[in-house]
């Protein structure tokens, strides 16, 4: 409410200043025809120009602020929509990943079960030497660390 009233007051002041500027310039022009007021020509002209310039400055600033406020509202709305969309996509990706992980673990467990079923057959036919285990472990512990 206060902002609205202040805005209204500012608009009124800008228009008043504009009107004063124009009036003073007209008055300065009119002094040509009325020699009595000729002494006020220069001050009226200077004050009129300053008032006009200041009114234009304030009007420009108000218009620019209004334009920026409109753009800000539009951008905020777009960003809010983007955030909602982002959360939706996040949930989709998370669900897909969790499902994939579940399937991978289930299939892995099935294979481990299969190995246990076939273990007696496997273990009698093939013996693993400690060197093979060493090589396997070396490969399993590979890392990109330079330390």
């Amino acid at each position: 409410m206060f902002t609205f009233l202040f805005g209204l007051f500012l608009k009124f002041m800008i228009h008043l200043l504009f009107l004063i500027g124009i009036s003073l310039n007209i008055f300065a022009f009119a002094t040509r025809f009325v020699p009595t007021f000729n002494v006020y020509k220069l001050p009226a002209n200077i004050v009129g120009c300053i008032a006009l310039g200041f009114a234009l400055y304030l009007q420009g600033q108000e218009d620019y602020k209004a334009k920026i406020a409109k753009q800000t509202t539009q951008l905020e709305a777009k960003l809010a929509q983007a955030q909602t969309e982002s959360k939706k996509v996040n949930t989709q990706i998370e669900t897909k990943f969790i499902n994939q992980t579940k399937v991978i673990h289930e299939k892995g467990n099935d294979i481990i079960h299969e190995i246990q079923v076939e273990s007696s057959k496997m273990d009698t036919d093939c013996k693993i030497s400690p060197e093979v285990i060493d090589i396997h472990n070396k490969a399993a512990l590979l890392s990109g660390d330079t330390k």
Partner: protein, 90 residues
């Protein structure tokens, strides 16, 4: 003296300086994706049976596929978030 003519338009243009008060938040990724890939299992030296080794190898494959799914999910996340960001700031 002539350059003073440029001063009033410059002064008038200073009215057009406003900071746009819009801030964007970096999108949060799912907690499930933010865990590091695990270390691979090793075979115990006393377990010289093929079945034990095969079990360890299978567990490691599971870990690999798990981690690969995570990387794919991150790539998909990045691609979709980039698309959303670009559409919002067009």
């Amino acid at each position: 003296m002539k350059s003073l003519i440029l001063f009033p338009p410059f002064l008038l243009l200073t009215a057009c300086t406003t900071v746009v008060p819009v801030t964007t938040k970096f999108p949060e990724a799912s907690q499930a994706l933010r865990t590091a890939c695990p270390q691979l299992d090793t075979v115990k030296k006393d377990d010289s049976k093929l079945s034990d080794m095969m079990t360890v190898v299978t567990k490691n494959y599971v870990k690999y596929h798990d981690c690969a799914a995570k990387v794919d999910a991150w790539n998909e996340w990045y691609k979709s978030q980039k698309q959303i960001f670009e559409n919002a700031t067009k």
